[in-house]
Every structure is written in C-alpha cells, then in structure tokens.
C-alpha cells in the first residue's frame, strides 16, 4: 500500500485552510445564486412577453450564455474589460459578475419554461370561475409554476457551486488553489500529498453538492406524482 499523503491534512492548520478555501468558493456561488434568482425571475417573466424586440434581445442573451464556456466569460470580464475600460477589477468580483450573468440567463430560461408549461385552460377555467387576474396568478398559476421551477433551480445551484471551481484559473485563492499551495509547501516532507489533498477536495465538493441534488430529485419525484 503506497503512502496516500493524507497525513498532510492534519499537519498544522492545513485542514482549516482547505475549508477556508471552500468557503471562498461557496461565498462566490451563493452571492451569484442570490443575484441569479433575484434578477432571473423578473427577467423570465419579461421573457414570456410576446413583443418581438424583447424576444430577440433575450434570445441573443441566452444563446451567448449557452454557447460560451464559463471560462471564456471569466477571461473576457477579468482580462478583457479591465484592458478595454482601464478599471481595476478584483478577481472575486469578476467571478461574481460572470456567474451572475450566466446564472441569471439559466434562471430566466427555467422561469420562462415553467410559465409556458402551464396549460392555457388553467387560466381560462380560473377566469370562468370568476377569479380576478390577481387571484388567478397567485392561487392557480404561481403554485404550479413553483412546483416545476423549484427542483430545476435547486439543480442550477449545484451546477453553480461546481462551476465556481473555475475561478482558480483567474487567480482566486479557493479550495483547489489552497490545495495546490499545501501540496507545494509539503513537497519534500510528503511527496504523495497530491493524492490526499485532491482526493479530499473531490470529496468536499461531493459532500457539498450531493445532498442538494438529492433534494432536487426528491422534490421532482414527489411533485410529479400529483
């Protein structure tokens, strides 16, 4: 059995540093999730409008986000805009901007899809029962939309957490970067640290994302029955 280099994690404050790095990734994704939900829901409602101008603009926005890898967007904002406009952008702020930009589009698309999936007869039946449009929306449409929306948006949250691992490439010191530093610092005393540290990072991401995706799956199953 080769040395797996796990002992490095218990040396000094290494584990605490690794968890600190994880917090940096989580903080970025949580802020971005907040922005995505806050801006994505109104945008999604706007996207259900039939105006051709709004349709073309939102479609363009969605396609850009769908086509471009998040890493390219990170580079564009972090290296491109700073060069073009001459401002000074913190790498963490740049990542929050990119992930909000991306998440907002995804969220808006989910909201639009959820609203469109409600059959027209739901509106008409409610109207026929004498409900006013506020009642129709709040009692009939919104609950059904939320049921379709919630599992999918929880899924989006795990995707955003996973994608934040990319921020290391523009120099944010997050969990993977901290892991790299720990490995470099212990290069001579435990040459096999890479296995233990990267294995732990993999596990940390799994522990973070798995319960959330299970919740999403559970909700989807539960609400699909009724």
């Amino acid at each position: 059995m080769p040395n797996l280099g796990i002992e490095v994690l218990f040396k000094g404050s290494n584990m605490a540093r690794l968890l600190g790095g994880l917090w940096v990734s989580l903080r970025i994704s949580l802020i971005a999730v907040g922005f995505s939900i806050g801006l994505g829901i109104p945008l999604g409602i706007v996207m259900t409008s039939k105006s051709p101008v709004i349709k073309v603009i939102t479609r363009l926005y969605l396609e850009v986000v769908r086509i471009m890898p998040q890493m390219v967007l990170l580079f564009l904002v972090f290296f491109g805009t700073t060069r073009a406009f001459g401002w000074n952008l913190n790498a963490e702020v740049a990542s929050v901007i990119v992930f909000s930009f991306w998440g907002c589009a995804e969220m808006a698309d989910l909201v639009r899809g959820a609203f469109i999936s409600i059959p027209k007869h739901q509106y008409e039946s409610a109207k026929a029962l004498g409900m006013n449009s506020f009642l129709v929306f709040s009692v009939i449409i919104l609950p059904q939309t939320l049921r379709r929306l919630l599992p999918l948006s929880i899924n989006l949250v795990t995707r955003m957490i996973k994608t934040t691992s990319l921020v290391m490439m523009i120099g944010v010191v997050e969990v993977l970067k901290v892991g790299q530093q720990i490995i470099e610092a212990n290069r001579t005393s435990s040459p096999n640290a890479a296995f233990g540290v990267y294995g732990t990072v993999l596990l940390l991401y799994f522990i973070g994302c798995w319960p959330i995706s299970m919740l999403s799956k559970y909700l989807e199953k539960k609400w699909n029955k009724s």
Partner: protein
Amino acid sequence: MNWEVIGSYLPLFWKAMLLTLRIGWIGIIFAILIGILCAIVRFYKIPVASQIAGVYIELFRNTPLLVQLFFLYFALPRIGIPIRADFCGALGLALLGGAYMAETFRSGLESVAKIQTESALSLGMNKSQVVTHIIFPQAFSVSVPSFVANIIFLLKETSVFSAISLMDLMFTAKDLIGLYYKTTECLTLLVVFYALILIPVSVLGDRLERRVRHAEFGN
C-alpha cells in the same frame, strides 16, 4: 484591434481548436458508450453492477471536471498510475459525460410506457425485438433534447483542459496574453473559435430535436 496580430495568431488558435476537437470528440464518444451501458444496467436493475453504476453516476455528477482532472492527472501518478495529459483529458471528459449521459438515457428508457412492451410481446415479438424496435427508438427520441444539451455542455467543459497543461484554446489565449500582452486580439480570437465549435453543434442539435419530435408516440 490589430489585424496583423490576429492573422499571425490564427494558425496557433487553429491548432489549439483541433486539439480541443480531437480530445472532445474521443471523450464524447466514450461518454455516450459509458452512458448507454450505465443506463441499461440501471434500468434493468442488474444486481451489483447497478449499485456500482449508481455510485459512479452520483460521484461524477456532483463534482466539477476541473477537480476530477486534477485528481486524475496529479494524484493518480502518486499511487503509481501515471497518465498522459491528453489521455487524461479524454478520460475525464468521458467519465463526466458518461454520468450525465447515463441519467439522460435512463430517463428516456423510463419514459417508455409499460403498455408498449406488453403490446409488442402480445403481437408475438421476442424480447430482443421489443428492445431494438420498440423501446430503444422511443427512448432515444425522448432523450434527444437533453442529449444535445449534454454534448454542448461537454464541449464547453473542454475549456478546463488548460489546467492540466494541454495546449487548447484557453491555454493558447492565456499564453499569448502573458507573452505579448495583446489581450483584445487574443480574447476576440478565443470567442470566435469557441463560437466556431459550438454554433454548428447547437444548430445541428436543434435540427435533430425537430426531426425526432415527429417520432414521438401519442402526440
């Protein structure tokens, strides 16, 4: 924007794109194979294999590709399994994609109503005929939209290959920015080349989706 610079960088980006495409193509083919295998194993609940596939799917769906690649490329050699960078990239993509494809195909298989199997059997088809003529075609047409989404997702994920020192588009752009400081030109080329890869895939995917929608039963 300096067009001469762009002209001189074009061959470098072209080479990088070919590398991305080569590894992406191999990774996606294997991802589809792994996905089909795992989906069948999960769907027919083959003992032991089904549990293994389940653990594999959950593990790879819930961790980022970048971390998986780091683990494969830097950690495995430490316990005596050295691995080449381009092989590692294709392997990582295949494993990640396999997990996503497995879920896609499985939900396709599950969406085929039981009555379809029973009707086919009562018409005198044998089991393998039912699978090849009845279940698979319908399952495929249901899973096409998410299949296309997975392919686009995987092609986008190839952008992290630069982390394991593969000379892909990302690596080339970063390298050239670092060397000559032509940020605007490099980033423009980066966007153009990724669009060159992904727009055709997206358009073809749309057409495929529209085509198979005719095959859906009962609409």
